[in-house]
Subunit: 342 residues, 2 copies
């Protein structure tokens, strides 16, 4: 009963007049109305309060009219629900004071009842669906098990996540147990989200591109595949692996409805690597939104020409940067809406 | 007259019994004898004092017997020589208090006489050649102009280098002028290094992988190509672009003697993308040196089998991490020396 189902049709591979558009982190710091809420409530309060999370989620839809909303939340609510303490430090990012680094630590990690531990997310989904009034579909997301492990073991962000890798490479059995616990939790979590009302789910494998293809298959893809297998009958699944061009071939065989690509992978390469049949999503360099709006519009039209208007979802290649001016974001969205096949 | 010319022969594409091996950042913090010097002298004193730089350069050769030495220095000595202040802050990394962010800033940047401004590097080369006693070839290096620009504009390290990108995307004329000044300095610098005695030069494009293929061509590759063109008659040139798998095709046509690849690009992909004829260098995940030594040895042998022993230089896919144990580094080098075609 959605008024605008363009996004769902693109995920099914249907022929469309123009591709749908949304932006990763579209409910975020570049929006003045978001910053107003951020100045009043801390990070996890925003995540945990359905009224706030739903308001933040619909803000960009009201302002720009994207073709999909994505629930405001964070990938680290999952380890938090697994009894791993997660703090969000201003000007620092995530901080986990008790990182998981041994078999004993892994044994302590619980697989929770997500409807209880993450019940607030389900409430936020219901509140958001009410606010959206069936205008556009709602996306729910989770981090990939590997990306969640990165934070759980490293304890904070990192350029190389070498402590996380060390854990996997020197204690592979413990690492796989942790990955399986995260996977089981994530599957239950995403299924609950679909029951609560999200129309599509996306897996963010933000740090998959730090692994070699062999290690990626073992420590990341194996678990992403489990999630796709478990979810694909419930809702379309999008897999986005930043820097994971080397895995696009496997991903295209996975049963995912669409694959995200970053801006280092050209449309031509992405279509080639995925066999040309699956819906792709991306891949505008977030920093290219710093270009003048007229240039953004030209580049977006060119990007659509390169990917083709069908089996394609216009997006950035990663989250929008906090310092992007609102009229630059608008130019990006408008360019897609104004797109005509040339 | 080199006693061990295996590295030079591999760069020429000659048939060898085993591939040569060296490690990026092999003269570095994982070595106790390096840390001893580091505790006594600050970073730029080590770079600027020929006795120290040459001693640091030969330390890993003495201990492990790699097939090539690489002069201890830093890519940021080039902007420093161009009158851009560069500090190296402990536990922070490079810091440039007066970043280049306008046309006026670019106008202030000078193209120096490198034999004067970087005379200390030439002295370090001569001192190193004496210590090496023609045992193995000596590599000299420079950052790619794009990578140098990243630091000059951002003013410090960054996950996204968005200020550097903003400068290129909003002030492209000024950016190209800066890139050309860096290129002119780098060409003169590398030529002087060859005259002073280095046998091979390598260009490090550490941040090339942050750009889209189109932007890479405009803001990075265009200048790397100028350097290869200017240097290739003087010495073999190796180009290493981290995350630049998408540019390997262009790179293979450039006249470079060899191309570095990182660990996200499999041997098969790297050979395919480069047309199978050029020497490749890489690509062991530096974090995989955290694995047990026996596993390192197995993985190295497998890596050589995958790349093939000819037209190949064994290396890491990026610099060695400071927390690698000496016996793990040794396992890596020994595995190559013990390699036999199976």
């Amino acid at each position: 009963m959605l008024k605008n189902d363009l996004f769902l049709r693109a995920l099914k591979g249907e022929t469309v007049d123009r591709p749908p558009v949304w932006m990763m982190r579209q409910a975020g710091r570049y929006l003045p109305e978001f910053r107003e809420i951020r100045d009043k409530y801390d990070f996890f309060t925003r995540c945990r309060t359905p009224e706030l999370a739903s308001e933040i989620t619909v803000q960009p839809i009201r302002r720009f009219g994207m073709d999909a909303a994505i629930l405001f939340s964070d990938i680290l609510v999952v380890p938090q629900a697994m009894d791993i303490e997660v703090q969000m430090k201003p000007n620092f990012g995530p901080y986990l004071p008790h990182p998981v680094r041994s078999q004993a630590d892994v044994d302590q990690v619980t697989v929770p009842d997500v409807t209880v531990a993450l019940g607030y997310v389900m409430e936020a989904i219901k509140a958001t669906k009410e606010k959206l009034e069936d205008e556009v579909p709602l996306i729910g997301f989770a981090g990939s098990p590997w990306t969640i492990l990165c934070y759980c073991v490293q304890g904070q962000g990192s350029k190389t996540f070498d402590r996380a890798k060390e854990f996997c490479f020197t204690q592979p059995m413990a690492a796989h147990q942790l990955l399986q616990k995260i996977t089981d939790t994530t599957i239950a979590y995403l299924k609950a989200k679909v029951r609560a009302g999200v129309d599509v789910v996306q897996i963010f494998d933000s740090w998959g591109g730090m692994l070699s293809p062999t290690d990626y298959r073992e420590f990341s893809w194996h678990y992403n595949q489990q999630i796709v297998d478990a979810l694909k009958a419930d809702a379309p699944v999008i897999v986005f692996g930043k820097g994971c061009w080397f895995a696009l071939g496997d991903m295209a065989q996975s049963g995912a409805a669409a694959l995200g690509v970053d801006w280092t992978c050209s449309a031509k390469n992405a279509r080639y690597l995925t066999g040309g049949k699956i819906t792709l999503q991306g891949n505008f360099d977030p920093a290219r939104l710093l270009s003048p709006p007229s240039e953004i519009k030209k580049m977006v039209a060119q990007m659509i020409n390169e990917f083709g208007k069908d089996r394609y979802v216009v997006n950035l290649g990663h989250g929008i940067l906090p310092n992007i001016a609102v009229d630059h974001a608008k130019a990006f969205i408008d360019a897609v809406k104004e797109y005509r096949v040339s």
